[in-house]
């Protein structure tokens, strides 16, 4: 039973709609499924945090949305709609026009994201002129404005500097400026703070959140760091082995997790001030792509497993809290209210 | 059990990439043919081209069998002295292969030894050896081989020239190529040296030479073998070039390069086969060695898998 009529959130202002997305990597031994029947939506100006372990399929989902899947990966099934228009399967040129102007992206390592041989001014101006009709000098002015907005001091001088002349945190600000050049409606942020010092992380997160509130830009914030999610996200999707385990508002998922995996995740986050108890952890580890068990992917590690879990993959179930859903049989058997 | 073993080999990625690459299978076949035919040359050749008694000067300049005036007795024709081209090519292959392999072995022996010593002992010895290697690497190997050969020629008495020419040649080409093996061995040694099992061996008072021989060598041979596959092709080319220039093997044991040089004189007068067939043979030889080397490199390169 496909939950196509389920309510994934407030769909009225949804700018991104992902339905039954499947991403495969064909290999000699058969196709590896990296993203398996994933559906969610993001509303205008909303921050959706996508959290999960390494290899859970978060980055691949983001890359599929922006059309930058590396060969041999391909979208096998499903649809991705942006502002109502279907964007998977668009011709190259049409997709290129969407990238940067409608959907932007930020990646993990600010050092390698910038071309070391060009000044940041040159990289900013070329992005601006690609998507707008501004003249070179006006584009340069806009670039300086952007640099100011992201907090680069002495922007009118630093604009002619090379990437290696900036520190890590400053570079990521430049990356944010580049992503915002053409005012996209949605930004895919793939581990934007993972490569930065903890002290810088908070600044970048605050910057992202502030800018996006101001410009009403939605963010798909991909990370394995729950702390970052807790600071920034409006809604959260928890991914496991290429599937969504649970999705809902930040408060609901963190305070009232329904899926056993989410429960385990939240329990394993250390809280300052608690007595010295052993930190709970989930036994075992997430299966590799070619070793995903039948039924629910989490069943070998699940403390609440029943026989149905080993056979049939769970559908998305309503939990009782509006907008919060979990893919779990066991939870569905219990009464839904909290 | 054997069938299980066999199945593992066939299923392995290496066998897969080998059998799915028709080019590689073809070149392996070619190389095999060349190797076998040259090893068995004395037995296989229809004629013995180097026995003056068996040559008939009247048969000189016979064209290949499929051309007017040719005969299947000499399938590829004869040269200016009546020697059968097919036989001379098979013997020529032999010399080329012998020089090629032996010089690479020499390079490996020198290179691995110096590289290991350099990596294991470090210090000023390491710096010295590496400087030497770097300096030599900036000069093309052919020039080095030429130089060594030239110096040997000048310093050794003329009467000995022909006899030991082939050894001098192997020595020059071998000397020209050691730096790359040394470098690769050195980095491998430095990586292995820091591993714990080496520390354990040292603590147990195992002699450094034993450590190097038993532990380090097996682990650094991989990249060396990859280099060697390119090295053999290169050595064959250098030898052919030197022989062509007249400073390689003596005319009594001609390699493919010598044959080409001899035949070059007759290119314009119409007897093209004397030089063209040895040229084709050389091309096949080098090509097949190169292709196998390419396949080996691609297979063992973790980045491409």
């Amino acid at each position: 039973m496909t939950p196509s009529t389920q309510n994934y959130g407030d769909r009225s202002t949804a700018i991104l709609d992902v339905e039954h997305l499947c991403v495969e990597f064909p290999t000699r031994h058969g196709a590896l499924v990296a993203v398996d029947d994933v559906s969610f939506s993001i509303n205008e100006g909303e921050v959706l945090g996508v959290v999960g372990e390494s290899g859970a399929g978060k980055s691949v989902t983001g890359l599929a949305i922006i059309g930058l899947l590396e060969r041999p990966g391909r979208i096998a099934r499903g649809s991705i709609r942006f502002e109502g228009q279907k964007i998977n399967g668009l011709p190259k040129e049409a997709m290129r026009r969407i990238r940067g102007a409608k959907i932007g992206a930020i990646f993990q390592d600010p050092l390698t994201s910038l071309n070391p041989l060009y000044t940041i001014g040159r990289q900013l101006v070329e992005t601006i002129t690609t998507h707008t009709d501004l003249s070179l000098s006006r584009a340069r002015e806009r670039a300086i404005d952007l640099l100011n907005e992201v907090g680069i001091p002495a922007a009118d001088r630093r604009i002619d500097a090379y990437p290696h002349e900036f520190s890590g945190g400053m570079r990521q600000r430049v990356v944010v400026a580049l992503a915002l050049c053409a005012n996209p409606r949605l930004i895919i942020a793939d581990e934007p703070t993972t490569a930065l010092d903890v002290s810088i992380q908070a600044q970048i997160i605050a910057l992202l959140r502030g800018l996006c509130r101001e410009h009403r830009t939605a963010i798909m914030l991909i990370t394995h760091d729950m702390g970052v999610i807790a600071e920034t996200a409006d809604r959260v999707a928890v991914m496991y082995a290429g599937r969504i385990a649970e999705i809902g508002s930040l408060r609901d998922v963190v305070k009232h997790p329904k899926h056993p995996y989410t429960v385990g995740l939240m329990n394993s986050i250390p809280i300052i001030g608690h007595k010295n108890k052993r930190l709970p952890h989930i036994n075992g580890s997430m299966p590799r792509l070619h070793e995903i068990p039948p039924g629910c992917a989490f069943n070998p590690r699940c403390p609440k497993v029943v026989s149905r879990c080993r056979v049939a993959r769970p559908d998305f179930m309503q939990t009782g809290n509006p907008g919060q859903m979990a893919a779990c049989w066991v939870f569905g058997k219990e009464s839904g209210n909290d | 059990m054997i069938s299980g073993w066999l199945k593992r080999i066939i299923d392995h990625d290496i066998s897969y990439s080998f059998t799915h690459s028709p080019v590689t299978v073809l070149s392996a076949l070619m190389t095999l043919i060349i190797l076998v035919s040259s090893a068995l040359a004395p037995v296989l050749t229809p004629h013995d081209p180097f026995n003056p008694a068996s040559l008939d000067i009247m048969d000189a300049f016979t064209p290949p069998a499929w051309v007017d005036g040719g005969t299947w007795k000499y399938p590829l024709g004869t040269d200016d002295q009546g020697r059968d081209i097919l036989s001379t090519i098979m013997f020529g292959n032999r010399i080329s292969l012998i020089v090629g392999f032996l010089s690479v072995i020499l390079s490996i022996v020198i290179g691995v030894t110096l590289g290991m010593v350099s990596g294991y002992i470090g210090g000023w010895l390491d710096a010295l050896i590496m400087r030497l290697a770097d300096a030599q690497l900036t000069i093309p190997s052919i020039l080095i081989a030429l130089l060594v050969d030239g110096i040997a020629r000048v310093s050794l008495p003329r009467e000995l020239h022909d006899e030991i020419a082939i050894y001098v040649l192997i020595f020059s080409i071998g000397i020209a190529a050691w730096p790359q093996y040394a470098r690769v061995t050195r980095s491998g040694t430095m990586v292995e040296k820091n591993k714990e099992y080496i520390a354990a061996a040292r603590v147990s008072n195992v002699h450094p030479v034993m450590i190097m021989l038993r532990h380090i060598i097996p682990n650094v041979m991989g990249p060396n073998l990859v280099l060697a596959t390119i090295g053999v092709a290169l050595a064959i080319i250098i030898e052919a070039t030197l022989s062509f220039l007249g400073v390689g093997v003596p005319p009594t044991t001609p390699s493919l390069g010598t044959l080409i040089r001899i035949g070059n004189e007759f290119l314009f007068s119409g007897e093209w086969w004397i030089t063209i067939f040895p040229v084709v043979a050389l091309i096949f030889l080098v090509l097949s060695v190169n292709l196998i080397g390419d396949w080996l490199r691609d297979t063992f390169n973790p980045k491409l898998r």
């Binding site: 390698t112 041989l117 520190s167 010092d197 | 093309p140 020629r153 052919a240 070039t241 080409i260 050389l282």
Partner: protein, 330 residues
């Protein structure tokens, strides 16, 4: 930056000195110079007199400095075989070699880079595959084989290009003779420069291609795509510049080795250059010429390496650390 230049120049001088020393040893101590210079009948006294006259009894250091001083003026003594001062032979042969090397270098670098870019960007077209297959030939074929095949095709069979010599050479500017101002000169240089340049061309092609393919996989290219930049801007703006910088070093060194391979090409085409002279010198153990050639080649190499290093330094902004402000707050 000045320090860098001075450092490199000093290094180059050091290399030249070492080369000169090695040549000096060759010159004086391999074989006996006197024996090589005079006939069998010369008496012992005359040999001794000659030895004294040439200063061969002086201490080694003195001889070395004399050698250096002479070498700096291009005086390498008298060829054993040709009985002419090497100083006269050099200007006769050097221009031929240098022109050949120059023509081959231009050919291999320009074509190599163009083809490398094309095959790097269009990896799966059959044109690309054909070019790659052809490049395998360039790497597998020894230089002299290429020369012979070209001669066979264009001179023997088709008869449209000459197979030996330099064509008509014209004297310009002092002792420099050039073959590039006559039609016969151009016709004569075509086959030899292809022969000499083919190996380098395929090498450069493969390196540019590999580098291009690797650059296209980097994060900054991914980010550039994510910003919606056009393929043209990505390929020829970003990827190209990043590809060419490491290629400069390799290309430069390849061009340097051209002068070594010119020996072979000059032999095949009977091109009247320094290389052909060198081979004959090796045949006949004519040491003064051998030494002169080695010194010239070393000079050539060292100069090219120096130019390449400086070029690299100018082009890569990461090396110019005294530029601009470093760092900033986080």
């Amino acid at each position: 930056m000045i320090f860098y230049i001075i450092n490199r120049i000093l290094q180059s001088i050091a290399v030249m000195l070492v080369t000169a020393f090695v040549c000096f040893i060759l010159f004086n101590y391999v074989g006996d110079p006197i024996n090589n210079m005079v006939g069998q009948e010369t008496t012992i006294q005359d040999r001794e007199a000659l030895r004294e006259q040439l200063g061969l009894n002086d201490p080694t250091v003195v001889q070395f400095f004399r050698f250096l001083r002479n070498a700096a003026q291009g005086d390498f003594g008298i060829s054993y075989r040709l009985q002419r001062p090497v100083k006269d032979l050099i200007p006769e042969r050097l221009p031929a070699t240098l022109e050949l090397v120059f023509a081959s270098a231009v050919l291999s670098v320009v074509l190599g880079i163009l083809l490398g870019i094309y095959t790097g960007l269009n990896q799966n077209t059959w044109v690309s595959r054909a070019i790659l297959a052809g490049s395998l030939a360039g790497v597998s074929l020894p230089t002299f084989v290429i020369g012979i095949l070209l001669i066979y095709l264009f001179s023997v069979t088709l008869g449209i290009l000459p197979s030996y010599g330099r064509g008509e050479a014209v004297q310009i500017v002092g002792w420099w003779t050039t073959g590039l101002l006559t039609i016969s000169g151009w016709k004569a240089i075509i086959l030899p420069s292809i022969t000499l340049g083919l190996y380098q061309l395929t090498l450069i092609l493969r390196i540019v291609r590999a580098e291009m393919m690797e650059v296209l996989l980097t994060d900054y290219i991914k980010f550039a795509r994510a910003r919606g930049l056009t393929d043209r801007v990505i390929n020829f703006g970003h990827a190209l510049k990043n590809t060419l910088i490491p290629v400069i070093t390799v290309t430069g060194l390849q061009v340097g080795s051209l002068i070594a391979f010119s020996i072979i090409t000059e032999t095949v085409f009977q091109w009247p250059g320094m290389g052909a002279l060198f081979i004959q010198a090796v045949h006949f153990a004519d040491i003064p010429i051998m030494v002169a050639y080695l010194v010239m080649v070393a000079l050539f190499f060292v100069t090219i390496n120096l130019i390449v290093d400086l070029l690299y330094f100018l082009v890569d902004p990461r090396l110019q650390i005294d530029r601009g402000e470093a760092g900033g707050q986080g």
